[in-house]
Symmetry: C2
Subunit: 402 residues, 2 copies
């Protein structure tokens, strides 16, 4: 009988989205409230709060929570949380006690209402140092924090939008309630999440299949929110992954779905957040590859592995499956990693991201030991469809889940 | 920093073997005590008690323990234990209150002394039904129970022998204290045990490598005690495994060692015992393949997986890594299992044990997708060395850890 992990810090999911008449009434009220615009990242967080992906949060964090999360990954009430979930504005008039309407900066639609409990300023540099381990503006997560407004607003929210995800990704988008129902229906108890923002080559397939071998099922879980410039678009990525699944996975042990957050690229801290919200989705494990959720060289390749050893073992129920750098080895005659292959670099199929992009752009075939031909075909078609000047920007991870 | 699982039901290992002057004094005393002979299985259990592999037991079980273990896998004091650890005799004169010397039935040497607390009879058929799920004498575990003496003797023991294992298997034999020290020295915290009584083909290598990918290390742990007729001898098996390790594993993530028990072939109940004593050896995981510790068709292929779901999740700290039937698939171009390969039987390399034995006996090469050539060479040399009439008896599992 299926017995899934409980949500984080709660026996039940706590979705903050209103429905039906409550939704209509709140949307009506929202019209008359002062409007504050949210950033793309904030909108993703709101949608995630709406579907219960950030259970048990009931809104945006106050200053004490922000400080505790930055410094000790712990909220004022003692709850483990690795990255601040905050809402900012530069509006000088809004104040504690106000009720406001939060409007999408991308689409102008109403996404939530908020009862403002606290208006506070933060030391952005401190947040970046603690969470991102850098204050360089070249880091996309740092740039997001630095671009925030002068103030943070804390308080409970009511979520009034689904962010358009169910419509835009009708085959892919699932809420934590939906994934939990799916897992139960399949009879799965142990489910590993495979986090990805990239198409899957054989190395990624290998990571997912290791997890399939020891769990009841694997959920390939794609970022559907904002990415940095040059990442492969979600539609192309999901088509490539669907092709891989169709040809190389067993239907009954695999699910592809997506979630609404923007990537923060916070590396180890984000790996913890990835495990935390996968617990809400019902996953018992998170596959953590090399340089998980990292960007450029800001983090060591195994920082995201090691951080799980730095928290108490019962902090998260969802546990990491830590896997090393993987590749095809001719002498092993199989996929392998630095931990399982004793052979030399010359025996291994190692292609840089730059090399892979070049080969795909020029319509050249990738080795079948690197990428399944069916997957490479999807990517070649995509590269052929985009303008030449865009090609240089496309970045793909060749080796590990990121 | 290495942080290993604690022993079963205890914070420390409880080896019952005496050493140095205590050993000499007890050996002297043993000379004057009444002597009772033990079977091969009982001797293995005594050696295991001696090295702390059966921590926290302090000797052989009494009737209440026997009953509780048969019926509920629970001893009188509430401790989880899946298979009775009992000592039998047909001696009519020995009685509760006596102190006895236990002598090896194989070698005649003194192996232990025992303070007899209780002399009792058991319903052997009940034990077989509960533990082995059959009373057929063709089952080697049933035959062992039925061959026991009329009475069981319960009581604390002092172990006075190492069973000759350290000498006979100097490179291979390690006590739980030694494996724990080895794991700590390597910096391992998560260690999976791979139980085997067979040489390792690619399917077994695949099981072990899945575990290497997600744990700090894997201990290939061979039965060095008694096997049923036709199993490959430990010396040949360990040479084949050493060859595999040398050519296809990374030194820093693998250890081959052995333990002194006889196989009981109790399938699911023995899988639980295998996990229990691996916890004492410091292993956080036990690889449980298809028909683990089974024999012939007495157990369903996944009975040993399912039994772990029938016990409370905190009963054992050491957790199973449950893996399905594995094989090479040409379309996957990799090792795979029924859970990861969506292709057809014709795409898979499946050889029966009978076919493999025939090919090896006739010096024919096994496909490299089934067995590493270096390993097949060791086995071919062994088959060439044994008498023809013995060959038909040799039994090898082609597909799964048993």
């Amino acid at each position: 009988m299926s017995k899934l992990v409980p949500p984080h810090g709660s026996n039940t999911l706590k979705p903050l989205a209103l429905t039906d008449s409550a939704l209509n009434a709140e949307l009506n009220k929202a019209k008359s409230l002062p409007k504050i615009t949210c950033s793309s990242r904030e909108e993703g967080d709101i949608i995630m709060l709406g579907i219960g992906g950030f259970t048990p949060l009931n809104g945006f964090m106050n200053k004490a929570d922000w400080q505790g999360v930055c410094d000790n990954m712990t909220m004022e009430n003692g709850l483990f949380w690795p990255i601040p979930i905050t809402f900012s504005t530069s509006d000088e008039t809004v104040k504690a006690g106000d009720e406001i309407t939060i409007v999408s900066g991308k689409t102008g639609t109403v996404v939530a209402t908020m009862m403002v409990d606290e208006k506070y300023t933060i030391d952005k540099t401190h947040e970046c140092e603690m969470v991102y381990k850098t204050t360089e503006m070249a880091h996309p997560g740092v740039a997001m924090v630095m671009a925030q407004g002068k103030y943070n607003l804390a308080g409970q929210i009511k979520v009034l939008s689904d962010g358009g995800f169910p419509e835009k990704y009708s085959d892919l988008y699932m809420t934590p309630m939906q994934t939990r129902a799916y897992f139960k229906d399949k009879g799965w108890s142990t489910v590993a999440a495979f986090q990805t923002r990239n198409p899957m080559h054989r190395s990624h397939e290998y990571l997912a299949k290791i997890a399939v071998e020891i769990c009841d099922g694997v959920m390939i879980h794609s970022v559907l929110g904002g990415l940095k410039a040059g990442d492969i678009p979600a539609t192309v990525r999901s088509e490539a992954i669907a092709t891989l699944i169709k040809n190389y996975f067993v239907d009954d042990t695999i699910l592809q779905s997506g979630y609404p957050l923007d990537m923060r690229y916070a590396g180890p801290r984000e790996a913890l957040l990835h495990a935390l919200f996968r617990q809400n989705y019902g996953c018992s494990h998170l596959i953590v590859g090399r340089d998980h959720a990292g960007v450029d060289d800001y983090y060591g390749p195994f920082d995201a592995h090691n951080i799980f050893d730095e928290i108490e073992s019962d902090t998260l129920i969802t546990q990491p499956l830590k896997i090393d750098w993987t590749f095809w080895c001719h002498k092993c005659a199989s996929m392998a990693s630095m931990k399982t292959c004793p052979h030399e670099a010359k025996d291994r199929v190692l292609l840089s991201g730059t090399k892979v992009r070049k080969m795909l752009s020029e319509g050249e075939d990738l080795p079948s030991t690197f990428s399944r031909p069916e997957v490479a075909n999807v990517l070649q078609a995509y590269y052929a469809s985009i303008k030449d000047e865009d090609k240089v920007e496309i970045k793909m991870s060749g080796h590990s889940a990121k």
